[in-house]
Symmetry: C2
Subunit: 228 residues, 2 copies
């Protein structure tokens, strides 16, 4: 028999995935959190993920490592490309990691299969990250179709659902939703180049989007910033 | 402009992927080979992949590592599960790695994006591995659909094609095709539990399928076996 109560939640340690974990918990799932260490610069996020999972009722938290650094091609994994700090530009930013969401979802799919989970929760957002092809609703739908062809569970007739509960929300709406569910955003890290203590730079795209979100929500920003 | 001549070839070091590389070369592609080290027991395969790439005209060979061992759930990555040696059983074998093909294809997709390749060649086979859900033609089609929604290249209108040239061939047919293209099968390793020198056990499912393939092809088996 399938276990309808188990969900795999992709947890980065950032604001969006912390909110998504809180929503999965509110939906009644036992949450098996998975963080992917893909050689990103913002490793402080992974430390934040451990704190977020503990504080928000996850029953398990695993970290899997993928060595994407050797491939290059992104400012988040390639040290030779600078993280942009001068403001958000139109189009696909250099902080885009090739096929990142496909890789993360495929690892979540493996974990869902091992844990016999019936749901994957993924905190992708199509509003702030409109320049990322793998944040679009049609992409999410295609992954769900693939997932239901890919696994032993699928062959045996057990459906896997991909939940993207914040896909269409603005950052302000995400923050209000999370606060209503008791998320402590002071323990989340969004910055692309946070320091070892998890303090945010305040000037990269992720910091700008996050700060604007707290402004839009009309809530105080609990982010720890480096002194400037 | 897209480069129609570049292909990413997933290379395990086994018989099927070596044949697939030879086919991709014969199709006229510059071949960027990718091997995935997913913590498998048969690491001798990865050493074989290096030799196969060099010997068969790849222009590049990269290895990416994914740490799946912590998830457990497969005899190929979990030391607590024995590799079956008593013969091929119906159904999905314990050597099945959760979501393995989805993970490998997602990494190939990332590499294709970085190298601006227009093709991915994947040596999956639906005949010998009929028990694996992610070896079915409908799965391959779904991945190609996903890939064309997932990437920056897709957004810009450049199509990515997933080629699975040996999907419907028997092992005997694969071997005959490879020999006609000059593949040296003595340097490939298929065994699930090959020793450090790459010598095959002769009794696991992979060894049984491979040996039967050389028999069916009417060709001598060049496999190096451990003495028994």
């Amino acid at each position: 028999m399938p276990n309808f109560h188990r969900a795999v939640v992709l947890l980065s340690g950032g604001l969006d995935s912390a909110t998504t974990l809180a929503i999965a918990r509110a939906d009644g799932h036992a949450c098996h959190c998975l963080s992917v260490d893909y050689g990103q610069r913002h490793r402080a996020e992974l430390k934040a993920a451990v704190r977020v999972a503990e504080a928000h009722g996850a029953c398990e938290h695993r970290v899997v490592s993928v060595d994407l650094g050797g491939m290059g091609g992104s400012a988040l994994t390639d040290e030779s490309i600078d993280v942009p700090v001068s403001g958000i530009e139109p189009g696909i930013p250099v902080t885009y990691v090739p096929a990142r969401n496909t890789i993360m979802l495929s690892l979540a799919l493996a974990f869902a299969e091992v844990r016999e989970a019936s749901h994957i929760y993924f905190g992708a957002n199509a509003v702030d990250y409109s320049g990322y092809p793998d944040c679009r609703p049609e992409y999410m739908k295609a992954f769900e179709v693939l997932a239901n062809l890919a696994t032993k569970a699928a062959v045996e007739g057990r459906k896997l659902t991909l939940n993207t509960p914040i896909l269409a929300l603005t950052k302000g709406e995400i923050i209000r939703r999370g606060l209503a569910l008791g998320v402590d955003y002071s323990m989340t890290v969004s910055c692309y180049q946070a320091d070892a203590a998890g303090r945010a730079c305040g000037v990269c795209d992720a910091c700008r989007i996050r700060r604007a979100g707290f402004d839009a929500a009309g809530e105080p920003d609990p982010t720890h910033y480096v002194a400037r």
